[in-house]
């Protein structure tokens, strides 16, 4: 499977139509960025791809939801788990020692024993990102992965993500991120549509 195909997706919330017969085909390689204004429906699209959002019609051909690692728009950290535990919790027991590697990738070395309450917003975002990357899978689906992260780090972390060799589909407004992506799909909505 070397592409992700969304065909005829339709999702509405009450009277609001977010996806209306939406179709899109993306190659499953490198870093693909979705750029769209806030509230256009790109998070809904990502949730549909991740199998977290059902709709009225449409199909998704691509990796199964269990093979997709999702980074939500919110950090969704567990206040009672340390930075290191956030990573080891998602790793199989035989791979626990990998935690250090994922924390280094997100530039969180030295914060292993910290709790989320003592981290800055950008550090929390990087921790959420490291947890998603540690999960692994056939596709990384990252919703606003660098919110609050300082620009010099974005380039470094994104190049490390690229080295992992796993296709990435990310949503971002950030110019820095869009510039580093292999391809950028510009969307607008709602209802969401691809801007030619």
């Amino acid at each position: 499977m070397n592409e992700l195909r969304i065909t005829g997706a339709a999702v509405r919330f009450g009277d609001k139509i977010v996806l209306d017969n939406f179709s899109l085909t993306l190659p499953l390689e490198g870093i693909t960025a979705l750029s769209a204004p806030s509230g256009s429906g790109k998070t809904t699209l990502m949730r549909v791809i991740a199998g977290l959002q059902s709709g009225e019609s449409g199909t998704v051909d691509g990796p199964a939801p269990r093979d997709i690692a999702v980074l939500f728009q919110e950090d969704r950290l567990l206040p009672w788990r340390t930075v290191e535990e956030h990573i080891t919790d998602v790793l199989p027991s035989r791979r626990r020692q990998e935690a250090e590697h994922w924390l280094a990738l997100a530039e969180l070395t030295g914060e292993e024993k910290s709790f989320p309450a003592s981290l800055s917003g950008g550090m929390c975002r990087r921790l959420a990102l490291a947890r998603t990357l540690a999960l692994g899978g056939a596709l990384y689906l990252l919703d606003e992965p660098f919110n609050g992260v300082d620009p010099p780090r974005i380039g470094r972390i994104l190049s490390r993500i690229r080295e992992l060799g796993v296709p990435v589909l990310l949503a971002s407004h950030d110019r820095e991120v869009l510039d580093l992506a292999d391809r950028v799909i510009v969307l607008e909505g709602p209802p969401l549509r691809v801007v030619p």
């Binding site: 991740a50 977290l52 997709i68 939500f72 969704r76 567990l78 910290s114 989320p116």
Partner: protein, 288 residues
Amino acid sequence: MTRSITSPDNQKTPGRSMGRDILRAVIPPAFWLGVWQLAAMWVGRKAIAAAWAAGDSAALVKAVIEGKALLLPGPLLVLRTLAELAVTPLLWQSAALSLARIFSGFLGGAVLGGLLAAACAAFRPARLLLSPAVGVIRATPVASFIILLLLWVTTGLVPAVCAGLMVLPVVWGNMYKGIIQTDPLLLEGARTWRFGRWKTLRLVYLPSVLPYFASGCSTGLGLAWKAGVAAEVLCVPKLAIGSQVYYSKLYLETPSLFAWTITVLALSFLLDRIFGALFRRMERGRGA
């Protein structure tokens, strides 16, 4: 303008802060002991006046300390009675057995309340079925339960079962609220992080519910002592604080009644502190 950003707590010197803590711990009980002493002297004012008029200083001291012991003994007399009881095995045996009965009832009620809350959260029909029953338990007077239980179970079990029945609805209500208010975003996250049921329970549900459980236990503990001792008063087991409270009432030994009540308060306070420390220790793991 130069403005200090140091919080008032950090500006205190350790010695002064410790002194203030000691004063905070000592002044309120001292104030209420004073109020109690004055009230006892007011109730026993006739004896005090008579001793004063007779110029009998020994009788005056006795009248001030004891007050009118039948109605309201003074704190010193109660303390003396407590000290006299403390050197007998009766106090320690009664306290130990009451503690065992009431604490086992409390634990049973808390565990059952927690399990029922989990069942209700997992299967909505269970909540529909159990809600009225728990409502009945919550609203039924303790005395009715005690008398009914006297018919159904052995005397020694009545205080434990009664304490458990008081704790169950409180823990059930708190735990149910905690479970259904667990952050849905974290639960959705747990699915995408490939947590199984056990891992979701251990890493998401239990830490989320812990503050609700702690609050239920704290309230339930007080209720367990009240209901448990009331049950002991009515069913009079051989060695029990409640039985001694009953005998104090029977023989009009008010200082003894006060002394046994203080014993209950001390045990309840001690358990509350132990539980508080335990839950604080568990909460510390939350990075709070």
